[in-house]
């Protein structure tokens, strides 16, 4: 299987806080890959480094074989990134968001907007100001802004954070369908083991800036003799 994203010995410190100690990962083309770990484990920092937003102190990132810091233009063309804490422009409508981002991406803007509108599932609400949206609607709009141009690789930092059960299910199904339809690679982070087990082909446990385990959910469960991923996580981190 071809490697979409390769990360080798990434390290990043903020002053005396070491956010990412030593992270090495391989994500294959077309798979949904989950990054799981407790608060402050270094998930967001790792994803930001892959997206080329934060420069690692040492180590290497390769996206489709390209270095995001040496060839940012090329990498940004194949990569979409949904930040963990993203918000909407309160004074713009959903549709205006779609148009703005579609214009940034270029190509057939109308077609991109149409697809984005479908992905968001917001229907008539797209004509409302995004400031009036609920949290779930906002998250779906933001997700559609990333997915609308069908990126080869999508990095989603906690796509379901703050959403209720129904919204979470909707988003999860959306991500799964999108990956299948477009044969895109997806890397997502989450605290929710259930969600990860449902959506991801493979997962990596990350704790205190290090990768402690990688594998498919079923593989990991049988290896640790656990009934769910939560048990695996507790055993793997020695908790």
């Amino acid at each position: 299987m071809a490697v979409a994203v390769r990360v080798e010995h990434l390290r990043k410190a903020f002053g005396r806080v070491v956010a990412v100690e030593d992270v090495t990962l391989e994500v294959y083309e077309g798979e949904v890959f989950g990054l799981i770990g407790p608060n402050g484990a270094g998930k967001t920092t790792t994803l930001r480094m892959i997206a080329g937003l934060v420069k690692p102190d040492s180590g290497r990132v390769a996206v489709m074989g390209l270095d995001p810091f040496k060839e940012p233009g090329e990498v940004k063309r194949v990569l979409g990134y949904l930040p963990e804490e993203a918000d909407v422009y309160t004074r713009l409508t959903g549709l205006e968001h779609l148009k703005f981002y579609a214009s940034i991406y270029g190509g057939d803007v109308d077609e991109t907007v149409r697809y984005g509108a479908a992905v968001s599932g917001l229907g008539g609400d797209l004509y409302k100001k995004a400031g009036e949206y609920s949290k779930g609607m906002k998250r779906r709009l933001l997700l559609s802004l990333v997915l609308m141009r069908r990126p080869k690789i999508a990095i989603l930092d906690e796509p379901t954070s703050g959403l209720d059960v129904y919204s979470s299910i909707k988003v999860r199904d959306l991500i799964k369908a999108f990956a299948r339809e477009n044969r895109s690679t997806i890397i997502l982070s989450s605290h929710n083991m259930l969600e990860v087990e449902y959506v991801c082909d493979r997962v990596a446990f990350i704790n205190k800036g290090r990768v402690v385990e990688v594998g498919s959910p079923s593989d990991l469960k049988s290896r640790y003799g656990a009934s769910n991923l939560e048990e695996v996580f507790v055993k793997a981190t020695g908790g």
Partner: protein, 421 residues
């Protein structure tokens, strides 16, 4: 940098700005309101401060010189003074003896005993004493009114005296002119010309003043624009909208450039409303004075001012960018923007007071290191008729703003914007 990409960012910023009525309101209404307000305040202050004048007629007599057959009454002078002073907005109190408390008056005019006698005499000069309070500025205006009334009174009297003398010496009334005796030499006509030597129209005479007010107006234009940039960069981080944008194919440079250009467009709009309000203000003045409004409009000057405002703002926001992107909150970023604004304000205020083209080169050249000096010179040189130099300074301003824009934008990386703490 891709111009198309910058254009997309500018479009979004302007759309967002259009919906942000509060910011628009501040940018457009601030100059509209503050310009006439400044004018009104000045007007009100000068009228709300009436000057108290006492006219003390200690002479209080009428005298006819028997030899010359000329009559003068001190009452006439009191009447003339009272009319003139009241027309100038003073409170006039007439006395025939000195009032007890002189300190309540800003100006005291004393007509001494023997005034009418001396005024009609061929050997004496009549005097009028003036006591003015040093601390009251409008008292000086009242004093000038008194002096001009006195000189008019004196002039009339001398005409009468000269006519009497001429008749007494046997000249027939049509064979002499009083003026050729009293004022054999006069100046005039006085020709007002532009700096280039052509006769100046009334418009050109008030143009330098207008230009200075326009320069003062840049103060109201620069501050809302730089606050907008602070909000556009630091505010977008706080509102969590910038990270998604930075991860798109847009480069940071394109995002920041788009924001800076949008801010400059906001400034441009605000400068146009500035000029418009200035014109309305002049129009109102013209209405009340019965002057000529059409003279005020010089479209080339307005256009030049708009272009200058645009690049002045671009310079300001470009200078602020490297600092603004490195601060953590809107408040500390605003503080930095305020410091940059202060430098602008100081210079623009001096541009309101001083004719920059007349400053000594030894002072002016070092000042040119500050980009705002060129903003002032663009407008003032133009008004002075030195169009070539005006364009030269405009070129420098444009070049410096683009250079600073480049440096400012290059100093920013996504990491600096996202991780500033």
């Amino acid at each position: 940098m891709n111009p198309r990409a910058v254009e997309v960012v500018v479009w979004k910023e302007l759309l967002d700005l259009w919906r942000d009525k509060k910011t628009l309101f501040a940018a457009i209404l601030l100059p509209v309101v503050s310009m006439p307000l400044i004018g009104l305040t000045v007007l009100l202050l000068s009228t709300q401060q009436p000057v108290n004048v006492a006219v003390v007629d200690r002479d209080d007599s009428t005298y006819s010189d028997p030899a010359l057959n000329v009559t003068v009454s001190s009452e006439w002078l009191v009447g003339n003074l009272t009319r003139a002073l009241e027309a100038a907005g003073c409170h006039v109190h007439a006395y025939t003896s000195e009032p007890g408390n002189l300190t309540v008056y800003d100006l005291v005019v004393v007509i001494p005993r023997g005034f009418s006698h001396n005024a009609t005499s061929l050997t004496q000069q009549a005097r009028v004493e003036i006591i003015r309070k040093a601390s009251v500025q409008p008292a000086l205006n009242a004093e000038n009114t008194v002096l001009s009334t006195l000189s008019q009174f004196s002039r009339n009297l001398s005409e009468v005296k000269v006519r009497q003398l001429a008749l007494m010496s046997g000249l027939s009334p049509g064979s002499f002119s009083v003026n050729s005796v009293l004022q054999p030499v006069v100046a005039g006509p006085v020709l007002v010309i532009t700096p280039s030597g052509a006769p100046a129209s009334p418009l050109e005479q008030i143009k330098p003043f207008l230009a200075k007010v326009l320069i003062l107006g840049l103060i109201f234009v620069v501050s809302p624009a730089s606050m907008y940039v602070v909000d556009g960069i630091v505010g977008e981080r706080e509102r969590k909208t910038i990270e998604l944008l930075l991860a798109t194919p847009l480069s940071v440079s394109e995002v920041i450039t788009g924001k800076l250009i949008a801010a400059s467009i906001l400034g441009l709009v605000s400068s146009l409303s500035d000029v418009a309000s200035l014109m309305v203000y002049m129009y109102l003045i013209a209405l009340s004075v019965g002057g000529f409004f059409w003279l005020v409009i010089d479209l080339k000057l307005v256009l030049l001012h708009a272009v200058t405002a645009f690049f002045t703002i671009l310079v300001t926001v470009a200078i602020a960018t490297p600092f603004v992107t490195r601060t953590q909150g809107v408040r500390s970023a605003s503080n930095i923007a305020t410091v940059v604004n202060m430098i602008g304000m100081a210079l623009f205020f001096s541009g309101f007071m001083i004719d920059y083209p007349k400053i000594e080169p030894s002072i002016l050249y070092p000042l040119m290191a500050i980009p705002y000096t060129h903003s002032i010179l663009v407008i003032q040189d133009y008004v002075y008729g030195m169009v070539y130099y005006s364009m030269l300074h405009l070129a420098v301003l444009v070049a410096v703003s683009l250079l600073l824009l480049y440096v400012g934008v290059k100093s920013v990386s996504p990491e600096k914007i996202l991780l500033a703490r």
